[in-house]
């Protein structure tokens, strides 16, 4: 890299100390980075890598005194930020350095209007009259492409959509043309189509303003989409940094290589002749409408149609993907099929028996044939139970001898590649991926005919995600499992599913073999979805590790 101009932000040997009793003494050990004007620097790392804390250090917003800067320098436009008083920092924040946060819902004050919150920045730093400020704020809303900026100005955050909220955040951050914008996972909470729009917006505005952007993310797809320069963090240490193209396509450090190798590519497996096998799960004409509970003043609210007339068939040994964005009804499908929710109409046949027509007693018996793996590895295991009991619970309920069930649970732990020594621990003593393995073991303990997996890897870091997906693939192969796989992530779907169903607003817009859908999407929505996959033009260079 050549030094053309002095960077806006220079971080030298930054070290951040964690409170006593944490798993390591320093959250960040010797971070060095430069951000130049007009450059987007991506800081990539898995959870716990210290990437968010470095942003906090630059803004001087660390949760002191628990977490403190232990050493190093942060220079912004030639000034030493660490030496500044709080009052001086306050003048910088929001003005010359601004920040965009991850969760647009919680990052905006629910009690103030959008306009008020944008106006606050202007009031604090611009010193103009109210009219002027309002005009400026509306102008900013226009620039972030919010439809009808005047009415958005008076709206409360809960009255606009998630994507619009993030646009408001961006408008707020860029309102005073800062020199440096720090974006902390700004698109992680958004749907894929919205994500692409926001990334584009950031990129465009940054080009216009010429600001430097420090962009924090965990997603290599996003990196590929947006980065000029990449820094890879692991456990508080920089393992690799360099221009985007170089790091993405020719990573040097084994960790980077492994991370990149974990990113599922967009090449679906060749399709197997699954449709000829016997059907194990068949949904017919499923429909579910949520009659929302009454609001405070309004009494009844409009009912929401979650699933509209859904039919599908799952064959023996097949993996059927249900793909869609939030609000598409895909999660409702997983609950209807397992009858955790009662459908308004339709039938779910498991091996020819209609689950929805069962009496409560019959239903309890039927449940062992259709098991589920849940999304949130934190929430899906009872925190007050030991792992062995969690896994053995199902068989015991269905009359298995408790001792035998526990012995079987230990075997299953081995099957999901966990040490049986872990059997007597509680869920919180495991990592997210391990918990998801326990969840899989619990489902397998019942020896079900069908497993419904609801976003089983979406809460996991990319490297862990790859390992869990691999395990699922292996088990499917070994045990001839039939999987109904619900996901929002097209990369994951591409990797695992034989066939997919694409859903939008409760309706199926397209269905077919994965490879065919990916190669030649018929419906505009599917096309849009595929086009929005971040970094879709980038193919991870090599697969040195053993991901499937």
């Amino acid at each position: 890299m050549t030094v053309e101009a002095k960077p806006i932000l220079e971080v030298r040997d930054l070290r951040i100390a964690l409170p006593k009793g944490s798993d390591r003494p320093f959250a960040l050990q010797g971070l060095n980075l430069n951000v130049h004007a007009g450059e987007i620097v991506c800081m990539v790392g898995e959870s716990g890598s210290g990437k968010s804390l470095s942003a906090g250090a630059i803004m001087r917003l660390l949760p002191e005194p628990h977490v403190t800067v232990a050493g190093g320098e942060i220079t912004f436009e030639g000034e030493d930020l660490l030496a500044k008083s709080e009052a001086e920092m306050r003048k910088l924040r929001g003005n010359r350095i601004s920040m965009i946060f991850q969760e647009p819902m919680t990052a905006l004050n629910p009690q103030k209007t959008v306009g008020w919150q944008i106006d606050e920045v202007l009031k604090l730093h611009m010193g103009a009259k109210r009219k002027e400020r309002q005009a400026h704020a509306i102008e900013m809303l226009k620039r972030v492409h919010i439809p009808d900026p005047e009415s958005a100005y008076n709206a409360y955050p809960h009255q606009i959509s998630g994507g619009q909220r993030q646009r408001v955040m961006i408008a707020m951050a860029l309102a005073l043309s800062p020199k440096l914008v720090i974006a902390d996972e700004p698109t992680t909470a958004l749907d894929v189509t919205t994500q692409l729009q926001i990334l584009k917006l950031i990129r465009d505005l940054q080009k216009e303003e010429g600001a430097g952007v420090l962009f924090i993310t965990h997603d290599f797809g996003v990196v590929a989409e947006i980065a000029d320069h990449v820094i890879v963090l692991r456990q508080g240490e920089v393992v690799e940094q360099g221009p985007a193209g170089q790091v993405l396509n020719d990573p040097q450090h084994p960790y980077t290589q492994a991370l990149i190798a974990s990113v599922p590519d967009l090449l679906p497996p060749p399709h197997k002749p699954v449709t000829t096998r016997p059907t194990v799960l068949k949904g017919t004409g499923l429909r579910k409408t949520f009659a929302a509970r009454g609001g405070l003043l309004t009494g009844k609210r409009k009912a929401v149609v979650a699933v509209k007339d859904l039919s599908f068939e799952l064959h023996q040994g097949e993996t059927l993907g249900v793909v869609g964005e939030s609000g598409s009804g895909k999660t409702t499908v997983s609950r209807l099929v397992t009858r955790l929710l009662d459908a308004d109409a339709g039938a779910v046949e498991v091996d020819g028996t209609d689950l929805l027509a069962c009496s409560p007693a019959e239903l309890r018996g039927m449940r062992k044939h259709i098991q589920m793996v849940f999304q949130d590895p934190m929430a899906s295991l009872n925190p007050r139970k030991r792992v062995v009991d969690i896994i053995a619970q199902g068989p015991i309920v269905h009359g298995e001898d408790p001792e035998k069930a526990r012995a079987r649970a230990r075997e299953l732990l081995e099957l999901v590649e966990l040490s049986p020594a872990a059997a007597n621990r509680f869920p919180h003593e495991f990592s997210g991926g391990q918990r998801q393995r326990i969840g899989i073991a619990r489902a397998l303990a019942m020896e079900p005919k069908v497993i419904v997996a609801d976003e089983p890897v979406s809460a996991l870091d990319v490297s862990v995600q790859a390992q869990v997906l691999k395990l699922l693939a292996e088990l499917r192969h070994r045990m001839n499992l039939s999987l109904l796989f619900v996901t929002h992530d097209l990369r994951v779907a591409a990797q695992l599913c034989d066939r997919i169903i694409v859903m939008q607003k409760g309706e199926v817009v397209e269905a077919g073999f994965t490879a065919e859908v990916f190669a030649d999407p018929q419906h505009p929505y599917t096309r849009n979805l595929l086009a929005s996959i971040p970094g879709r033009t980038w193919t991870p260079p090599y697969r040195k590790t053993d991901a499937a």
């Binding site: 924040r93 601004s98 946060f101 629910p110 009690q111 409360y156 955040m169 609001g295 003043l297």
Partner: protein, 329 residues
């Protein structure tokens, strides 16, 4: 098209409809409960009089309708209640409504001053303590809050009376006004205020500690939220954070508590009103229980239900006003 009814009115009507079964439940429950108590108001009356002969007692019982079967009494009472007739007080020999209205003013005054003092001081101190969490000032405030909380109100009342009335002679011992003082205008206001100082303090301290503790944790919780971090990243100072971002959100749980505490407060005022001889509903309720003055006690509970339901309705409106997430229409 139908003429549009204001949403507030619809909401009020809906709440009223929900409240009616609760009130009926309360009234029937209380009636039957009181009937389970040993002895009736005639026993209490005869006890007060220092005795009476049998014929006299029997005639009184018939006069009050207490010789009827319980179901007949209940039915008669509920029928009258449906026309908002609360009956006559056995003890005061006046319509219950008159008796209640006499007492309501004092009680409302006492409760309003106590609650608003407890609310405002508790919230201020709580917020202050939270912003300086774990400092000396915080520890001091929190300890004070705990002591307020742990001290029985009657103990506090007696101690205050000893100090301020007997030893120092600053405040009157009890009552709501100086009897035969014949104050008018501003003097009357000052006089009543002087009489209310100690009862208000005795009654409000425990609630003050509730609000203090609630507010402290609420402010600390809100201060941790993302949007406060956002405001900080915008360059907002501590005062601004507190005023514009933290307080309004942190107030919400306190407002909820406000609605719930109203009836507890009325119970708490029994002891305080007794000690300070305040002619309020709390004392009246206690006396009515002891004297088995069914109609009066039922009337108090009826009035109390209405007040509580009204207060809850108002706090809900206030909540909706404070929390923009709750839509008004």
């Amino acid at each position: 098209m139908k003429p549009t009814i204001p949403p507030l009115l619809i909401y009020a009507l809906r709440r009223l409809l929900q409240a009616i079964p609760v009130i009926i439940l309360i009234m029937m429950g209380t009636f039957l409960l009181l009937k389970m108590a040993p002895g009736d108001t005639v026993d209490a009356l005869v006890g007060d009089m220092g005795g009476a002969d049998a014929a006299f007692i029997a005639r009184l019982r018939a006069e009050y309708g207490l010789d009827q079967p319980i179901w007949v009494q209940l039915w008669r009472y509920m029928v009258k209640l449906a026309t908002f007739d609360l009956g006559r007080s056995f003890v005061y020999e006046q319509p219950v409504a008159t008796v209640l209205m006499d007492r309501l003013g004092t009680t409302l005054l006492l409760m309003a001053t106590s609650l608003s003092l407890a609310f405002s001081i508790g919230i201020t101190l709580g917020a202050f303590a939270a912003r300086r969490a774990y400092s000396l000032a915080d520890n001091l405030i929190s300890t004070l809050g705990l002591i307020f909380y742990a001290t029985p109100s009657f103990f506090l009342s007696l101690m205050m009376m000893l100090l301020f009335s007997v030893k120092l002679g600053w405040l009157p011992v009890g009552g709501i006004k100086t009897i035969a003082g014949f104050y008018t205008g501003w003097d009357h206001v000052v006089d009543v205020a002087r009489h209310l100082v100690m009862p208000t303090a005795a009654l409000s301290l425990i609630y003050l500690s509730f609000y203090l503790r609630l507010m402290r944790s609420s402010v600390m919780q809100v201060a941790d939220q993302d949007f406060v971090r956002t405001a900080r990243a915008k360059g907002a100072g501590e005062t601004r954070l507190m005023v514009h971002h933290i307080m309004r959100n942190a107030l919400l749980p306190a407002v909820t508590l406000f609605g719930l505490q109203f009836s507890t407060l009325l119970g708490g005022s029994v002891v305080v009103e007794t000690i300070f001889t305040l002619p309020g509903l709390g004392q009246l309720a206690y006396q009515s229980v002891i004297q088995r003055d069914m109609n009066t006690l039922m009337g108090i509970i009826f009035l109390c239900s209405i007040i509580v339901i009204l207060v809850n309705f108002l706090t809900d409106l206030l909540y909706a006003r404070l929390d923009s997430r709750i839509e008004l229409s």
